[in-house]
């Protein structure tokens, strides 16, 4: 598999996947990377160099925000990423788009 084309194909859905994961719970960067690995997806083994630019784009667009949260006493605050209301709305739109889009793509590929 040509890594350049594989990367291009995956690129478009990563924002949607990150929003989806954050819609379930707030997470910090390391957690997001581990979560995607735990999904047992060989296609979404995200590295820091890919994940953080996505998070920053979502943050700059107001779809997520970062918060420093202390989980346990005497522990240092961790930087969590939290989906915003706007992010929830955009995720809904992306899910609808994805359903239609993936159906159409599959139809063309099967021809």
């Amino acid at each position: 598999m040509n890594p350049k084309y594989e990367r291009q194909l995956k690129k478009g859905v990563l924002e949607m996947l990150v929003l989806k994961l954050l819609s379930k719970e707030k997470m910090y960067g390391f957690q997001l990377i581990q979560k995607l690995q735990l999904c047992n997806s060989k296609y979404f083994s995200l590295k820091e160099g890919t994940l953080y630019p996505i998070l920053y784009r979502l943050e700059d667009d107001g779809l997520v925000k970062s918060e420093k949260i202390v989980n346990k006493p005497k522990e240092l605050a961790k930087k969590y990423y939290v989906i915003t209301d706007q992010g929830v709305e955009v995720l809904k739109e992306l899910e609808i788009l994805w359903k239609d889009f993936s159906k159409e793509v599959s139809k063309i590929m099967e021809d």
Binding site: G29, E48, G49, Y52, P53, I54, Y56, S66, K79
Partner: protein
């Protein structure tokens, strides 16, 4: 390499906004701390993260930083810098290194006026009249020390009666800030030949007087 050195190297290779550099540093640092807490060794983490430059390149590619545009800006900056240096060098050259043209080609000085003035100086010099020379010179010529110097030189160079002018050349020298007319005149005297080098400022005041 330890964590701080690694992160500083990554940041050094990044060409993005200060805001992005700050949050990248924070997030990578937090990830490394988390991985260490989870039992990974620094060596394992460093191997997983990869070469600092490669990580920086990957971050910039995904931040969609226009590296080609950045290189173009660098080249433009470099070319502008070189042009500025060349322009300054050219200006300095024009200011400090005089350009020389034949006086007859000068658009500032009148050849006949300069020639007449030079002949006046030669007449005074031939008569050892250093006072008269000082009177047509710039203020520095009127200083006693300068007049004394001229007197000494004229006394040393005993020449006898004036015979003829054997050669004369006239040029205009100009810098960005000033112009002067220069003359080199060789006079044959009874006892020897003296070459006079004269310079006149823009107001035709004598500004230099040499004898050899």
């Amino acid at each position: 390499m330890n964590k701080e050195k690694y992160l500083h190297k990554v940041i050094k290779y990044l060409s993005c906004s200060k805001k992005d550099k700050k949050r990248i540093y924070e997030d990578l640092s937090a990830d490394i701390d988390e991985a260490l807490e989870n039992g990974e060794s620094w060596q394992e983490i460093e191997m997983r993260f990869g070469d600092p430059k490669d990580l920086a390149d990957e971050l910039m590619e995904n931040l969609e930083v226009d590296t080609k545009g950045r290189h173009k800006k660098l080249w433009i900056g470099l070319i502008c810098g070189v042009c500025i240096v060349v322009a300054i060098g050219f200006l300095a050259y024009k200011m400090f290194i005089p350009t020389t043209i034949l006086l007859k080609d000068s658009t500032y000085f009148n050849y006949d006026e300069v020639h007449d003035k030079a002949m006046e100086v030669i007449e005074y010099a031939s008569n050892d009249d250093y006072e008269a020379i000082a009177n047509i010179g710039i203020d520095e010529f009127k200083q006693d020390s300068v007049k004394e110097q001229m007197k000494e030189t004229m006394t040393m160079m005993k020449h006898g009666a004036f015979l003829k002018i054997s050669s004369e050349q006239y040029v205009e020298n100009s810098t960005l800030t000033s112009k002067y007319a220069a003359a080199s005149i060789t006079v044959m005297y009874e006892d020897n030949a003296i070459t006079y080098t004269l310079a006149f400022d823009e107001n035709l005041n004598l500004s230099a007087f040499y004898m050899k």
